[in-house]
Amino acid sequence: MVNMLLLMPLISTGAVAEKAKQAIDIAYLTQEQNVPAPLSNLDVFIKDKGAFGAELGIDDDNTTGEFTGQHYHLKKFMVPLDGNVIETFNKELANKFQYVVVNLPAAQLNQLADLPTAKQMLLFDVATVDDALRNGQCRRHVLHLLPSRAMRADALAQYMMKKRWTKWFLIIGPTQEDRLFADAIKRSAKRFGMNIVTEKTWEHTYDARRTAQSDVAVFTQTDEDYDVLVVADEQGQFGEYLDYRTWTPRPVIGTQGLIATPWHKTHEQWGAVQIQNRFKEKAGRWMEEQDYAAYLAVRALGEAATRTKTNDLNPVKEYMLSDAFALNGYTGNPLSFRSWDGQLRQPVLLAAPRSLVAVAPIEGFLHPKTELDTLGYDQPESQCKWDK
């Protein structure tokens, strides 16, 4: 229902009277995480990745709302480590919210999404990178804000192709996530004509002293020469030890070394400095990718609610998935959602620890509609069937 008050001309200093405000309520749902064993003392564990991003998005939406007569409200739910997310959802969110920012792992996301009450909502996934959730297991009421593993792997592959580093040595960690990242790398290699000359699974210890000194050199001796070492180690258990310790001097890319990410502290083009500053002022730390995703989720909702002048789910969602929707992500291209799988269409940054190396899509990779669709599963390849 359109609030008729919005159609009236807005007056005076920009502050609109309280009574004229249309409320847009957003829930933010996450669960406390186990603190992982630290790799080193350099990276402090951040337990609240995502929440500050959502709050910054709310701030920005509400500044706009002051002029449009809308008010955005965020309610955060953090389920304790031993708590039950489904219970919390049923008790606190069901039938109370239309919009939920979900910061949960893949398995829990679809458990939630399949609840009957969730089907009446729009869920913004700000945590998963799984390609399965954007393909065979996609859900029509779930939007994915982070670039999938396939998008990241394609970004790396485009850059490697430009550098003509076509022979890859792929090292895969022991976890299921590492295997999924490796699968994405293999898909990209095939897509861009790269050659994976050697593939090995990391079986050594994760002890810095032993690993660093001897194992890496031995492990990276190969029969066939290669241009780059591609590492699949999402938890960061050993990937950082590879650089400078390989048998032959080769750069490291993948989950460590040169990484593919939607956001990075080295990024400052296209107005990014402004949001980096605003975020740091708010959170007292750099923006992590979950923060960026949550920011974009709340901003996407704000943009759609502003344009459609409603808080109603159907017109908001329809606008969000339409061609008219364009969101600024501070990465040079307008962001939008892929209508076939709910994935946010976005550039992917290629970053070294202290310098931004490139932004994919890399110049020269062409697409009939938008170069952004050279990253990840394009419409003809998608296995997402919305009716599931």
Binding site: S12, T63, T64, G271, Q274, T306, A326, N328, N333
Partner: protein, 322 residues
Amino acid sequence: MILKKKGLGLFLTLALAGVVHAESVFVTLEKDNALAVVDPITGKLIKTVPIGQRPRGIAISPDNKFLYIATSDDNTIKIIDAETLKEVGKLPSGKDPETFALNPDGDKIYVSNEDDSLVTVIDIAKKKVIKQIKVGVEPEGITVSPDNKWLISASETTNMVHWIDTKTNTIVENTLVDPRPRAVGFTADSQQLWVTSEMAGTLMILDAKTQQIIKTIKFEVSGVTADKIQPVGVVIDKDSNRGYVALGPANRVAVINAKTYEVEKTLLVGQRVWNLAFSPDQKHLYTTNGTSNDISIIDLDTQTVTKSVGVGNYPWGVVAKP
């Protein structure tokens, strides 16, 4: 934002007084902390002078005596003698000034404070802040109408242009525009406001009486995907015959018929074209090309790019002095 109120009368006065100088084009170089001075007739870079940290926005006083340059990392707007290029004063711009506008009388400066969502109003003679006006998130494009009625501020993240009454310094109207509005410019008769949208790739023309959008032009360039067409700087000639829009990474300037609103042509310039300025006689248009480190000179009679002049790293803003 850049060249306003370059009255013909002033030009004649100078001519009669016998002090006609060769035209100079001033370009801020964001990454060189310097100002480039170009002779547009010969197409030569005359000199480059250090100017302060990260210079971006630039304007010239109506009497052509002073340049105002936002040196963003110095958190000030410097007043520079346009002849000697020596600093003669500083204005309290607030943090990280980038874009700003002079009023037609040249006695006030309005600064967009992007990080704080504010517009700062400065009395130039007193070098004092008169007022700070709360606007939307990330205000960028800013201009004053030639009749001095409206101050316009465009908020990039709020996607609005704010209509501020220059007498009261308060917002009286807000117009929702296409995503990430960048630059704003009035026609000489103050009847129309032209606004570019970086993300939608559009130019919107607003009626200053109703503050409503009367026309939206979506730019298309064959062989360039829509994502690369990111309109930035906009200027309209004094007779409202044609307007010109810099298309950013599409590396082109669009020529728009200001009567029919047709895009007549797009001219290939340097890379990531940002800001535009007319020559004082409006026979030429100068463009800053952010990533190819040059400016392009467009002959407006023939509508062709005649020269490109290498100036230094990240040319940002441009003004011309007769």
